[in-house]
């Protein structure tokens, strides 16, 4: 890690030196006062902040035949996946981190220091589009190196500052989630849905472990998420290699350990329906994780009826991952040799952004979500691991659904 950092610093210095000369030349054209304020200030930089947007909008304005909406507000959402209001909130979260470390080397071509808003916009655009750093940089009039550094700074800051947007809900919130699941799917005490997806990447041929090679011979990293009724992430595990199976991924997760220790999903343990989550057929049937009946098993109407209800509840997780990969296309594209230590942070920050959008009252446009399954190309392997208590709970749920119909 250490040598890499040195490299970065060196690169930054280089940029500074290059850009300094340009700055001197261009200073006459651009009023220097506004740029200094932009670099240092907070709320008083509104003028400059709108300036970056104006420049960006001008440069990337909709042309005939393009997908970009004509309306500026919609255009903003098209490029950054969120409203201006949510954007401001995100800026407020990371402002301290991005200002406290003055971007001495991060000067755009026009010679201005980058405002926090522009840094956030660059990072969001990189995550949202998944386009190369060069093309993202071109759309903002900054270099590839700037995009790289700004994006990573943003991710680091978000990982630290936005944690509260992704945590297991307290009792009060959990009650709401349970009641919503019961209202929508008639499943009592259902606390969420679990699913997992692969983040595909390329890796160098040398020094690449086979562990990253998944069932369809892609190099990938796994992400497992538990979501609530609004497709909002409650729990995330990522970083494990794609070669791992889903049951193994679950068993290595902190969530599994907490549940097995009785520290999570431990409500109503003695009642007919204890707290549980729903998962796909690739997950094991556990006392707190309910999976559907196997097709060969589900002979009765009740069982197939349960499977339908179960699939409906589970679809909130599938939808969440489709929205996640659709909104933050960097996760859906094949990443070119990412740093495997940094990739989990990128993934988690995308999940945080997903939650922030929901928390701020924004909504994800339907056309942003992936049109296909989030993990298309992968075969779901049926996990036949069955826990007797899980089986009993599933039978109770079948009876419950039957009685309520």
């Amino acid at each position: 890690m250490a040598p890499k950092k040195e490299k970065h610093e060196f690169a930054a210095k280089k940029i500074k030196m290059k850009k300094d000369s340009k700055m001197k030349l261009k200073k006459k054209k651009v009023p220097s006062s506004s740029s200094t304020v932009a670099a240092v200030g907070g709320s008083e930089n509104r003028g400059v902040d709108s300036d970056w947007w104006n420049c960006f909008w001008e440069k990337n304005s909709p042309i005939s035949g393009s997908m970009v909406p004509q309306d500026e507000e919609e255009g903003f959402k098209y490029f950054f996946r969120l409203s201006k209001k949510t954007f401001e909130y995100i800026c407020s979260l990371v402002r301290e981190d991005l200002i406290s470390r003055p971007p001495s080397g991060l000067i755009n071509i026009e010679g201005r220091l980058l405002s926090v808003e522009k840094q956030v916009a660059i990072a969001l655009r990189r995550l949202a589009s998944g386009e190369s750093q060069v093309s993202v940089g071109a759309s903002f009039n900054v270099g590839q190196s700037t995009v790289s550094q700004v994006t990573w700074r943003f991710i680091e800051a978000m990982e630290e500052r936005a944690r509260h947007h992704l945590k297991w809900p307290d009792n009060e919130k959990l009650q709401k989630i349970k009641s919503e699941f019961e209202r929508s799917f008639k499943l009592p005490n259902c606390c969420g849905a679990i699913d997992a997806t692969h983040i595909v990447m390329t890796l160098p041929a040398v020094q690449t472990s086979d562990d990253w090679c998944d069932q369809v011979k892609n190099y990938s990293m796994l992400v497992q998420g538990i979501v609530d009724d609004k497709s909002r992430f409650l729990d995330i595990v990522t970083g494990w290699p794609g070669g791992m199976t889903i049951p193994k991924l679950l068993k290595f997760s902190g969530f599994y350990k907490l549940c097995e220790a009785g520290e999570r999903l431990n409500g109503n343990l003695k009642s007919e329906f204890r707290e549980f989550i729903v998962g796909g057929a690739n997950y094991p049937l556990l006392p707190w994780l309910i999976t559907p009946y196997n097709e060969s098993e589900s002979e009765s109407d009740e069982m197939s009826g349960f499977n339908t209800v179960h699939e409906g509840a589970r679809s909130v997780a599938v939808r969440a991952f489709s929205q996640l990969k659709g909104s933050w296309r960097i996760l859906n594209k094949v990443m070119w040799r990412p740093d495997k230590k940094k990739l989990p942070s990128i993934i988690v920050v995308c999940c945080l952004l997903h939650n922030i959008i929901i928390d701020c009252g924004d909504f994800i446009e339907p056309d942003v979500s992936l049109s296909c399954h989030h993990d298309s190309g992968y075969v779901e392997q049926w996990c036949k691991q069955v826990d007797p208590l899980g089986r009993k709970l599933r039978e109770n749920l079948v009876t419950h659904l039957e009685n309520n119909n």
Partner: protein, 345 residues
């Protein structure tokens, strides 16, 4: 070719081996005739082949079997044409190499099972060293996954104990798990086919990463000192014998370790040694010991050890040590005794 010219010695050789004497013998003729005359049980030349075994000439089943085997082996090796009893060779081959090594993973738990949902597609668990045989049925795939899951339970038991890491591939992983308070942690992932184990990267990393990294990490955590202290305390137990016979250089080296030693027993000896060497340093050494003992009473923190170390470095004790003559074990023990006596006085 075997021979075109006949000679007496060759004829003698032929006849001694039971071959015909005729001159017009060629390879084919030789092969076809020679093997018939070889008794497999007595033959010393197993390399003689027969691609067209004449079964009717022999009633001895053992001989026939032996010849068949030889034929088949030679036929396969040199592609001499059809060979009989194909299954025999196949069977022999399959014994040498497993068709699917994964099946050998021992299953202990029958509850844990896994079956592919996509019935029309064979989805083998990915990173197998050799490609999965195409002839495998879905059923087989399911069995495999069953075993994999079964192993999972077994692994967790193993994780607590010791396991041989040499057979496992290692991958460093950085994991973010929001159910873990710190969110981010690094682990060492061990894998052997479908068996996955997780180890603490810190411990394992010490073995694999370069020294620089190790130093950095350890300095940050202060583990270096702790380890050395442990080493010293273990040394102290067997340290008595080592003390006497060492030369100055060794003593110097050892002293460095001793400075950080946790064992009061060992330190006492060191102090007493120092005191006995020079009366000048006696007072300083005394205060030093007093100071150190005080500190030890309070707590045995590493920082205190390092301050003690500084005292030794800065004080006269270094000079005192230098003045120690290279003596044998007995001499030193004598000095120690005298020192103890002087202390008692």
């Amino acid at each position: 070719m075997l021979c075109s010219k006949s000679s007496k010695w060759l004829n003698r050789l032929r006849s001694s081996r039971g071959f015909p004497d005729s001159d017009n013998i060629n390879l084919e003729h030789f092969l076809s005739n020679s093997l018939d005359k070889i008794d497999p049980q007595t033959s010393t030349d197993p390399s003689l082949p027969d691609k067209r075994p004449k079964l009717d000439k022999r009633d001895d089943s053992g001989a026939i079997q032996g010849r068949e085997v030889m034929n088949n082996v030679l036929s396969e090796l040199f592609q001499m044409g059809e060979f009989q009893d194909l299954s025999r060779i196949k069977r022999k081959k399959s014994c040498r190499k497993q068709q699917c090594p994964r099946i050998c993973i021992v299953s202990t738990n029958s509850n844990v099972q896994n079956v592919p949902v996509g019935k029309d597609r064979v989805s083998s668990p990915p990173p197998s060293p050799s490609p999965f045989p195409l002839t495998l049925s879905n059923r087989r795939t399911a069995k495999e996954v069953n075993r994999e899951l079964t192993v999972t339970g077994h692994v967790e038991e193993e994780e607590k104990g010791h396991w041989d890491l040499t057979a496992y591939s290692q991958t460093e992983v950085t994991v973010i798990d929001t159910s873990v308070p710190s969110w981010k942690f690094e682990k060492m992932l061990y894998r052997r086919k479908n068996v996955w184990k997780v180890g603490d990267k810190k411990g394992k990393g010490l073995m694999t990463s370069d020294r620089k990294k190790r130093k950095e990490r350890l300095n940050e955590n202060g583990d270096v000192e702790k380890k050395k202290l442990k080493l010293c305390s273990s040394l102290s137990k067997s340290g008595n014998a080592e003390q006497g016979g060492e030369n100055k250089k060794k003593k110097k080296k050892k002293k460095k370790k001793l400075k950080m030693c946790n064992s009061s027993k060992y330190e006492d000896k060191e102090e007493s040694m120092a005191r006995s060497k020079s009366p000048q340093g006696h007072e300083k050494a005394k205060t030093m010991v007093a100071n150190h003992e005080k500190k030890q009473d309070n707590s045995s923190h590493v920082q205190e050890k390092s301050s003690f170390k500084k005292q030794i470095d800065g004080g006269s004790s270094v000079i005192l040590i230098k003045s120690i003559p290279t003596t044998n074990k007995k001499d030193i023990s004598g000095i120690l005794k005298s020192c103890v006596k002087s202390m008692q006085k």
